[in-house]
């Protein structure tokens, strides 16, 4: 297992390097970090532009810049940002912390919902419950993340207006000033978290629940489940130990593979709810042509995706002993 994990990680390194190189070249050639300065009215003096170009290494050849960046990473230096006061490494780590708080919660909610709804839908196939779950599954599946987030915001505001209180918030991860003690602060944080978390969770839930339903149906019709029932095992035991456990195996893979799309969903959710996480970091970096910041984001998010896929493969082995033996 350890050798397998190491082999997988080693294969990932050249992929990472290649992707960072391609993005570096694309961003460097397509955008100019000095643009906001050059287009100012009045423009800064020429010596100011020259100093800024030097600080951002724009006076070096492209390949040299890339080489210095990639080697600098081993010293913990992610290169200069267009915002001279920003340390890219420090900033991006704190931003990913914010994003993973959002993603982690959303994934947990989406997984629990998907497993429960998917399993119940499969067990009660063609019932009204199944049809209702199917309807909502497809509704959320077909809804753009951005639109769903906006609708949830409006729903939250409507509830606030009708209750006369401030239960839901539409921007940020917390209020700047909160009156009261621990419970007031907790309520404030929850009030800020509910809408973005639901927004992100529902999109993943939609596809996962459909997947779980299909997987569960397949397992329920399998020979070993029929045998377990024939042996007179209680229905609950059959469901938990034989059906559900085996039906979870494919979902594990799908969840891991979906991480990249969840991160992109988080980018949208963060933008709408103004969470200053990794998503808004990337959007700001792109809009400012901040090459080194875009690169850092790509490197870290790609690393997370690779690690997550590896964890999924290892988990697969835990859930399905046949994989281990293979």
């Amino acid at each position: 297992m350890l050798a397998f994990a190491l082999r997988r990680l080693l294969v990932s390194v050249p992929i990472l390097v290649l992707s960072t190189f391609l993005v570096f070249v694309m961003v460097s050639l397509s955008a100019n970090p000095l643009d906001p300065l050059i287009t100012r009215n009045p423009p800064p003096p020429p010596q100011t532009l020259a100093a800024e170009a030097h600080r951002l290494h724009l006076d070096q050849p492209l390949m040299e810049r890339y080489w210095n960046w990639i080697t600098g990473i081993f010293r913990g230096d992610f290169g200069p940002s267009v915002n001279s006061t920003m340390n890219i490494g420090h900033e991006i780590l704190s931003r990913f912390g914010v994003t993973f708080r959002l993603i982690f919660l959303a994934m947990i909610i989406a997984l629990i919902l998907a497993i429960v709804v998917g399993a119940v839908s499969a067990v009660k196939q063609y019932s009204k419950l199944d049809y209702t779950a199917t309807f909502f599954g497809f509704l959320f599946l077909s809804m753009p993340a951005f639109w769903l987030a906006v609708l949830l915001k409006q729903a939250g505001i409507s509830i606030n207006n009708s209750t006369g209180g401030q239960v839901f918030y539409t921007i940020g991860a917390s209020s700047i000033y909160v009156q009261g003690g621990f419970w007031a602060h907790l309520g404030d944080v929850l009030g800020h978290m509910i809408l973005p978390t639901i927004s992100l969770a529902l999109i993943s839930y939609a596809s996962w629940s459909r997947f779980q339903r299909g997987s569960m149906l397949e397992v329920l019709n399998s020979d070993y489940v029929r045998l377990a029932r024939a042996k007179g095992l209680p229905s609950g035991v059959v469901m938990r130990r034989h059906a559900l456990r085996n039906a979870l195996i494919p979902l594990t893979t799908v969840t891991a593979l979906d991480l990249a799309s969840i991160i992109s969903g988080a980018v949208v959710t963060e933008k709408v709810f103004q969470w200053q996480g990794a998503g808004s970091f990337l959007l700001d970096a792109i809009s400012q042509s901040d090459v080194y910041a875009v690169e850092a984001w790509l490197l870290i998010s790609a690393t997370f995706v690779i690690l997550f896929n590896l964890v999924a493969d290892l988990l697969y082995g835990v859930l399905d002993p046949r994989i281990r033996h293979a």
């Binding site: 643009d35 009045p42 006061t85 940020g172 700047i176």
Partner: protein
């Protein structure tokens, strides 16, 4: 039976959830029709821009918080540096930086008497300006604000004493030969090597003061390296000091900045106990934040949807102002076809500016009118319409064709042929990618040109700076920012050898007039010279002004003394007067 009940419950739940989402989709804030303001707070702003939404101190609550949305994080605290010189940083620092002049909502410069009791030209040869600093003016640590502060802020912005400072602008500061203090540093005498018409722009709110005594703690102010070190320190350090009515209480990177009254402030005490600047980087999220009372004041770039959304929120007033940023179409005179004046004149005559306005910003306001000057905007002293009389921007196709025919151009099928018999090549028109308004403007220009037999290819750019500075365009649409101090701007935009004269227009007469206007001590004479130069340039059909870009402010009706200010000073120009109405 139970199963039935459960499934019915599920059905009802599904119906309720769907209904909630549908209702949410339809939900505005209720009340009011689109295009009609629900609040009347700004009703007097057109006629009384400097005093509308006023309330006396006895009508205001004592204290209270107001949250205003801003659209960028404060990445650099030194507003005089190239990196820190962004609108949002200017807005939030205005409360704690001292400055000599600022601009009122009616676009006129005004003396900040809390800081300097007078600023006068005492000699015209050499030009000498004497500033009298308010005797009570102190930094928040008690250190008097004095001539040393003027000297430090001059040295870091003159481009000579500190080559590595990277200031946003050196205009004016580089023309100063000396800054001398007297009366214990409370009188400052500034002498210019050559006259500088825009002298009120120096140490003004767009390039305010930083404390010299703190700068001295971070570098030797008599050496270039020391000046640069201090200058950099101001950029990267959240100010705990203040020289204004407010001081920083709390800064959360990328989230918010809170300012509270400065106890050492010697002027009128602010009414509010806190102003919170909440960073919302996506303007389209601002209306919902306002609707949900998470912010109380907005000052975004107006867009149709955003404006209509805000107008539907109950108890909220909004106002469209006309700012100093102005949109224009420029020709590149390095293109041999466009070097001929009649073709340029005809193309500009064929463009219908009013139609452009109607199809873009006219969708949410009827205030915007075609602009008639390259240096001033309506409302500024000195504005003179030099464009209308030429017929440029009128959309008069027949007149445009007449201009071409008189100059010997011919139409062969759908192709315009120049007097030498050569077909006019296809023109490349550029605009910033993703800017829908400018894309529409390009398409309208393209349609107008096609009626004259000129083909235009619209090619977006993702680097406006690169495109303009390299001259990679035949026609381009973008915006300049006018200024209450327009003379330096004119030199940068229109003089032959200026790097910002992207279309390479060159006229010795225009150059001379602008140079004269920039070295006058008589403002009226300078204004007249600038308008003369504009008249000549307009006749040469180099740049067609389109319109002033609108600005937009919205707030809850109970907030008083906040009003539109479409200049770089913004609505925060009088933040110490802001307050919440009683009741």
């Amino acid at each position: 039976m139970l199963g039935k009940t459960k499934s019915r419950a599920a059905g009802i739940g599904a119906l309720a959830a769907t209904a909630a989402l549908v209702l949410a989709a339809c939900g505005g804030g209720g009340g009011g029709n689109s295009g009609v303001q629900t609040g009347q707070t700004f009703a007097q702003c057109d006629s009384s821009p400097n005093t509308c939404n006023s309330a006396a101190a006895d009508q205001l609550q004592d204290g209270g918080d107001v949250t205003m949305a801003i659209e960028k994080n404060i990445a650099n605290w030194n507003v005089t540096s190239a990196e820190g010189n962004v609108l949002e940083t200017g807005l939030v620092t205005k409360g704690f930086l001292p400055y000599a002049f600022y601009t009122t909502p009616d676009l006129k410069p005004a003396l900040n008497q809390d800081f300097v009791t007078s600023a006068d030209i005492t000699s015209t040869n050499p030009q000498t300006v004497v500033y009298k600093i308010n005797p009570k003016a102190v930094w928040s640590d008690g250190t008097p604000i004095n001539a040393d502060d003027f000297i430090y802020n001059w040295k870091v912005q003159n481009g000579k004493d500190c080559p590595d400072c990277a200031p946003a602008n050196t205009s004016g500061y580089e023309q100063i030969s000396s800054v001398v203090g007297s009366d214990n540093g409370k009188t400052v005498t500034v002498t210019f090597a050559k006259p500088y018409t825009d002298w009120k722009n120096l140490w003004s709110s767009s390039g305010a003061m930083y404390p010299a005594h703190l700068a001295a703690q971070h570098g030797d102010l008599n050496s270039p390296a020391g000046l640069a070190a201090a200058y950099k320190w101001f950029g990267e350090t959240v100010p705990t000091w203040s020289g204004g009515p407010w001081k920083v209480d709390n800064f959360q990177n990328n989230v918010s900045l809170t300012v509270v009254p400065n106890p050492a402030w010697w002027g009128a005490k602010p009414h509010l106990s806190r102003v919170i600047f909440r960073i919302i980087t996506d303007a389209s999220q601002e209306p919902t934040a306002l609707q949900n009372h998470e912010v109380q004041v907005l000052y975004p770039q107006p867009q149709v949807d955003l404006v209509n959304q805000v107008r539907n929120i109950p108890n909220v007033s909004s106002y469209i102002g006309l700012g100093l940023t102005w949109e224009h179409i420029d020709f590149n005179l390095k293109n041999p076809a466009l070097a001929n004046k009649p073709l340029r004149e005809a193309l500009f005559t064929a463009v219908d500016v009013q139609a452009m306005i109607n199809k873009t910003v006219g969708q949410f306001t009827n205030k915007v009118k075609p602009l008639g000057s390259h240096n001033f905007v309506p409302g500024q002293d000195g504005y003179k319409d030099v464009v209308s009389a030429t017929g440029q921007g009128s959309g008069d196709i027949n007149k445009a064709k007449q201009i071409l025919t008189s100059a010997g151009y011919k139409l062969q099928g759908n192709q315009l042929i120049d007097p030498s018999g050569a077909p006019i090549p296809t023109l490349r028109m550029r605009y910033t990618v993703g800017n829908q308004i400018r894309q529409n403007e390009c398409e309208l220009f393209q349609q107008a040109a096609s009626q004259l037999g000129v083909k235009v290819d619209i090619v977006p750019t993702d680097s406006l700076g690169k495109t303009t500075s390299s001259g990679d365009f035949d026609v381009i649409v973008f915006a300049w920012v006018a200024s209450p101090f327009p003379f330096g701007n004119a030199a940068q935009n229109w003089v032959s050898n200026s790097a910002s004269n992207y279309g390479k227009y060159s006229s010795p007469q225009v150059d001379n007039l602008i140079a004269q206007a920039n070295t006058e001590t008589d403002q009226a004479k300078a204004t007249d010279e600038l308008n003369q130069s504009d008249q000549l340039m307009t006749q040469d059909a180099y740049v067609l002004p389109l319109y002033q870009k609108p600005t937009f402010i919205a707030l809850y009706d109970n907030i008083a003394n906040v009003r539109n200010n479409s200049t770089l000073d913004g609505p925060v120009y009088n933040m110490q007067e802001w307050g919440i109405r009683k009741g």
